[in-house]
Amino acid sequence: MKNRTRFFLMAAVVWTLQISLAAASFAPQDPPPAPDPVPEVEDEPPVQEEEVVEEVEQVEQAEDAEDAEEAEEAEEAEEEDPNAVDPNSPYLAIYGADIHTVTDGLIRRGIVLCKNDRILKVGKKIRIPDGARRIDATGMQVYPGLMGVDTSGIVRGRGSSMRDDFDPFALNLDLGLAGGLTLVQSGNAMAKLARGTLDGVMVGETGWVNLGYSSTSPGGRRQLRESMRKVRDYLREVRNWNIDKSMGEEVGEEPSSKGLNSGHLALLEGKAMARFNANSLKDLLSICDFLEEYPMQAVIFGGQEAWACAGRLGRVGAHLVITPRAKAWADQTLNAPSGWTIENAKILWEHGVPFSILPQQRWISTGGLAGRDMLTLPMEAAFAIRGGLPQDAALRALTLDAAEILGIEDRVGSIEPGKDADLIICDGDLFHYRTFVQWSVVNGKMVYDKEVAPYFAHIRPRQVASFEEVMEEIERALDETEEAVELEDVPEAPAIDAPEQAAVEVSDRE
């Protein structure tokens, strides 16, 4: 019996070895395990390792010659000590994780290679340059950094004076990063959560034009339409004047834009985005009317009853920023569906309305109410998922759609070559309550590490066991078992990881 146990355990060891080595050769572009503080290469008996590698290689050669070639390449690379990391290297490689690209689906066990502040390559077979900074994200999930539309209090300063006011060590900035945010809009400015530096913070200004179009102020609506009509007439005149001029006809002076509202002019010229606040169906429908009359880019904040007119919102091309958990009761006097529903986001998505998600509190709250502020933005989106929104769409809402609303979708919002290297690496599904952001990368620099930042390091500490640690653990377990088995008459206890067996035994006793 002793021999049998030992045999099984030895088999397990060999199997583990093979699995780990096979994994290394299946994905030979993967670098070896994360650099350990202990020099690993010297400690190992090199002969044994070589033997095993040969074994695995033979198996692989039989299966896939190409992979084996790459394994050789990997080996060659290993000889040059690829673990040497240059902290000033322009390259940052995140490897071993599942990459949620947003635009190009999911890449399992892929590599994101960043150079300076941009993403250079994304994929499975990428050679990591020598000396590159690395993050071993094996078993983790990589997402584009989340974006906070219309936040407050996460960054200090606004507009063009952002740089002079920015606090790159602020507590709220740290907590924003811990919550997965890498970019926030605050006031009219958009700022990266670039910790520890004043460079590369300011992304731009939204240039939104606030339009009040509420059913409670008919006078205001009339004035707005009046102003818009004037602007439209002016634009028509200009167009006709230009056509006449190009036809060589006698034209007078160019029409003057004097007296026109410059913001409204920018809206109808397509140079700016209109911002509305509307929750009720009534207001949303009248905004739809307005947008049909004066087509323009628009974002509507609130949208609690948007699900009831999702089709129309889709047709006028409006963007929304919604809070899935915000509640509004149905209007009993209305002969139409109204009120709040958890399906709001799902219905908007079905009708092709792009939207972003905002929690009930637009700031970071450290005073309780966990899950309702920017510290847990994905939690708010999780409620939309609960209401039927596909998970991909929820991720899109927090990243690319938000970037689109901010007008910076060409720079951020997805994991694509050429985009800004703003990423978060989570230890699980983004929308799971258990998940923490383990690392945040902004502008190609690691700016948050859960183990280092003092906020959540104590909750489920990250443990990445090295190959040596796993082997030591197995050897220790072997020795212990040997000692235990020597006590001959100890009855065979059911293994902890074999609950079926234990269950069988219990039922036998019954």
Partner: protein
């Protein structure tokens, strides 16, 4: 300049303490102590110190005591001797709060508002020298240095005009103020340079003209009859050439608020840069760019206690760093940060410790907070230097408050015990051999 000011002060100070019967010249006083914290290496035990003319003439275990010497034997009492504590920012000594802004013309010494017994308040705490700052943010003025000797009435500052205070704590407006100030200083320098170039040219032209004229006159003299017409010619150009430019260059008048900044840009003056958080450090770097401006760093954290984020960067500059003596907690965490110790670990060589708050009660709790920081890991010897010698050096007074050694001024405090024990009291404060404060005497007087 320091010595000159000392010489000025001495005659006013000395006669007060002088005993009429004895000639102060050549008078020797001998002290015997258990422990002397020289602050230059290890503390000395069982020391005999011979003081003559305000200077430590001999110090050690085997010192011959002259016949007529006055001997004070403090052995066996546990008393400890150390150079006096020096404060760099004693804000409670003025109350003229002008606010901030660009007011570099103000001197802190001009806004003194002293309590009657301000000097004994300081001496009681073993403090001899204090720096005072103009209050406010931005560029509120220049700092001064005071000695807490027995001056009656408005004291004459030891140094009236020392450092330029530049406070860039936490707001973009003060950053803008400094940026604009530097621009104005550059402009003033440029216009002065231009004025000087103009003057030099004018002077050179005038001198050349004079020379030419002299030559012509000489030639005319030689010719004899030809002198007249040439003199007439000279008369034509009289208005232009004959007006002599001043012999010495007189620089154009400058805005008195810009002048100290100009000195600073020309590296003739040191500035104190006040920072409130790690972000301020980056903003200061942003502000100063590639300029090389002489400065010291004053760290005074507010709510965000995060200077530890940039200690390495600060240490790399090799500047003098003045920091509040306290253990800070990172906000919302139980993570403690011993900033003074971290600065030393990062390689800061010139560390100045300041009380947690610069009012009188803060000053009275200073030694306790230093003791706490030492208990939490700051090296004791470093801490003692950082509350005595280093602050004096940061104010350019390293000769006045120096390590206790042969040849150094006999300026020290006799403590009733370990100076870092909060129960310890300053028993006597001596400045250049003269007793400025004696606790026993003072308490007797108070009882009377």
């Amino acid at each position: 300049m320091m010595i000159a000011s000392m010489l000025l002060l001495m005659p006013t100070a000395l006669p007060v303490a002088q005993e009429p019967t004895r000639d102060p010249v050549g008078r020797a006083t001998v002290y015997r102590f258990d422990t002397v914290e020289t602050l230059d290496g290890e503390a000395l035990r069982n020391v005999t110190m011979l003081v003559r003319d305000g200077i430590i003439e001999r110090m050690g275990q085997a010192v011959v005591v002259p016949e007529n010497a006055e001997v004070y034997d403090y052995r066996g009492t546990g008393k400890v001797v150390m150079p006096p504590i020096t404060l760099t920012h004693a804000d409670f000594l003025h109350s003229d709060r002008r606010g901030g802004g660009r007011n570099a013309r103000f001197l802190a010494a001009d806004s003194l508002w002293l309590a009657e017994d301000w000097a004994s308040d300081l001496l009681e705490e073993g403090i001899l020298m204090v720096g005072i700052d103009p209050p406010g943010s931005g560029m509120p003025g220049r700092t001064s240095v005071l000695l807490a000797d027995d001056q009656v009435g408005v004291p004459e500052p030891l140094v009236a005009d020392l450092h330029l205070k530049v406070d860039v704590k936490g707001s973009s407006s003060s950053k803008r103020l400094v940026r604009d100030g530097l621009k104005a200083a550059d402009k003033a320098i440029k216009s002065e340079e231009k004025a000087k170039a103009d003057w030099e040219k004018a002077r050179a032209d005038w001198e050349a003209a004079q020379k030419k004229k002299a030559e012509e006159a000489e030639a005319a003299k030689k010719k004899g009859e030809g002198g007249k017409p040439s003199a007439a010619q000279n008369g034509d150009g009289k208005g232009k050439d004959d007006k002599e430019p001043p012999k010495e260059f007189a620089p154009p008048k400058m805005d008195p608020n810009i002048e100290p900044l100009v000195d600073w840009v020309r590296k003739e003056r040191v500035a104190q840069i006040w920072l409130g958080s790690a972000a301020d450090w980056l903003h200061w770097q942003d502000l100063v760019g590639d300029r090389d401006l002489p400065h010291q760093i004053i760290l005074r954290h507010g709510t965000s206690q995060n200077f530890h984020e940039v200690v390495d960067q600060i240490a790399a500059t090799g500047l003098c760093v003045d920091v509040v003596t306290s253990i800070s907690y990172l906000p919302y965490t139980r993570t403690r940060v011993n900033l003074p110790a971290e600065l030393i670990a990062a390689g800061v060589e010139k560390l100045v410790l300041s009380p947690r708050s610069s009012n009188l009660s803060g000053v009275q709790g200073f030694r306790l907070s230093v003791a706490q920081v030492v208990a939490a890991g700051l090296d004791r010897a470093t801490a003692l230097r950082a509350m005595t010698l280093e602050p004096a050096a940061s104010m350019g007074q390293e000769e006045l408050i120096a390590p206790l050694a042969v040849g150094a001024p006999a300026t020290f405090v006799i403590w009733s015990g370990d100076p870092l024990d909060p129960m310890t009291e300053a028993m006597q404060v001596l400045s250049e051999g003269e007793v400025l404060y004696d606790r026993v005497k003072a308490e007797k007087e108070e009882q009377r």
